[in-house]
Amino acid sequence: MRLPRNFRSIAGFPAPFVDTEFGGRVSVPLFSFPPNGQALQVYLPIAELSVNLFFLIGIGGAVGFLSGLFGVGGGFLLTPLLIFSGVPSPVAVASVTGQVVAASTSGALSYYRRGMIDLHLALYLVLSGILGAFIGVYIFSVLRAMGQLDLVISLGFVILLGSVGSLMMTESIRSILKRRAGIVVRREANQHNWFHGLPMRIRFKKSKLYISVLPVLVIGLVIGIVGSLLGIGGGFIMVPALVYLLRVPGNVVIGTSLLQVVAMMGATTILHAVQSQSVDILLAFCLMVGGTVGAQFGASAGQYLRGEQLRALLAILILLVAIRFAAGLLIAPGDPFSTAVIGPGGVL
């Protein structure tokens, strides 16, 4: 008669209930116990996984520090970081939009108090941006169903960050070299582009501009689509676009762009919550707290660095993220297969 391999006989002898090897504890099957000792795990109700609270606030704070240092929203760093640390990309994108709103609000408010926002210009940007967000969130859900969301997010980051990063890099290196050579850089003003001749011209008093409304709407729309698709505020596209394309004066650029980011990302958060239900409010909140605090330290640290040095550092950072995404697309994956839940099942 064969006995089961781990059968414990009580015939004649007491069963070996006490295991001396493990300090005389009651013998139980050897399982790996859950890591209860880990401090402060937070369970994220939408992402459905538990993450260390300090990790979340830490990356929120680190990204907030950088965003305060460079004056950008930080979404372009936070979304990739969350994706690389295991948060599903739909949840990462949708939740970071909430964080971007918080990060931009305090900046927008302080610019508003100082009267450095062109509300008229912002209105047009916000309206077209919200329209763009509708389109972007729609594309988002279509891509998610097709299984190509990760690809588009990666490609989008590579193209966007790669081009913006290299532009900033060349520009800042050139100005650093010029400063070394002792040349005073002066930007030529009032240069006209071809689209200044477009119809539907509107006077923006605060920006001292009399330009066609069409390029304004197109910029808002494009940033709305890209921002909602990639979970970034788009401030780092908006600011150059306003400065170089529309020739908006420097004193209202950042405030206007921040206001546009707040309104557009607010709309995007609501749209993501309705359309894909992938906004994790707890994840967003942890990131917000870390980000808001970190931004304050970043802003004060930024005063010790010169403008072109800051831009060069930011360009390096942007390029690194772009390279990381490009590597994911170009290097053969360790595992060509992946799986995802796409809907609720039937009964068991």
């Binding site: 069963a15 305090s106 609501i270 919550a273 906004v279 409010i281 297969f337 799986t339």
Partner: protein
Amino acid sequence: MAALLVLSGWLCWTDPASAARLVSLLSTDTVQITSSFSGETLSFFGNIAPDAGTAERYVEGPFHVVVVVIGPTMQRVARRKSNVWGLWLNTEQVVFDDVPSYFRVLSSDKLTEITDPVTLATENILPEAQPGLSAEAGWWRSTVFGREIVRLLGRRGFYGLDENAVNFQSDTVYSARLTLPSDTPPGPYIALTYVFKDGAVVARKSEGFGVRKIGFERFLGTAARQQPLLYGVVCVTLAVFVGWLGGVIFRR
């Protein structure tokens, strides 16, 4: 040896005393996901007793116990990346309906020692068989992609086979432990317990337990699904408030 097994199986099959009753117990009927949830260990206990209505006073072993824990089913997709013009893209996908999100088998011995493959297949005990067949993909692609789902979920600890997880404390009393990971999918679970004797099922029992978010996590989860607009508005309000508060506190 094989002939001996077949012979002993045949002998026991004809034995009228092979029917048994399983008295079993689960350590909990609800696994609660709280904010600090980091997995939970479940215990299964049971005793194999003579069937009700028979004159038997005791049952004779040796018994083997297999516990199958099945999680809520989901519609799941498996995707394969391939290289298109230098870029690695998802190029192929197969959708499976009703894939258990959790499927772990605990047994008291190697499954091949406990019973034959036919019984394992008819009782649907093997994790590899769970994704089933996808209607539109055909048999071959269903099999290939289904195995990959099992492998990927197995690596996350959701699928698997623990072949010495059930321990016998006596001839008829067993216990088993199962640790649910921290990212266990919430939903209704079923634990199916099979008692095998000489390759045949002599008793079986199923117990249900739930893995559910409670308290604040549950509130947030349901709010996101049932009131998505309100949830989104609250999220934005919270963001604006945190941003404003940060500005006030640090006087930016």
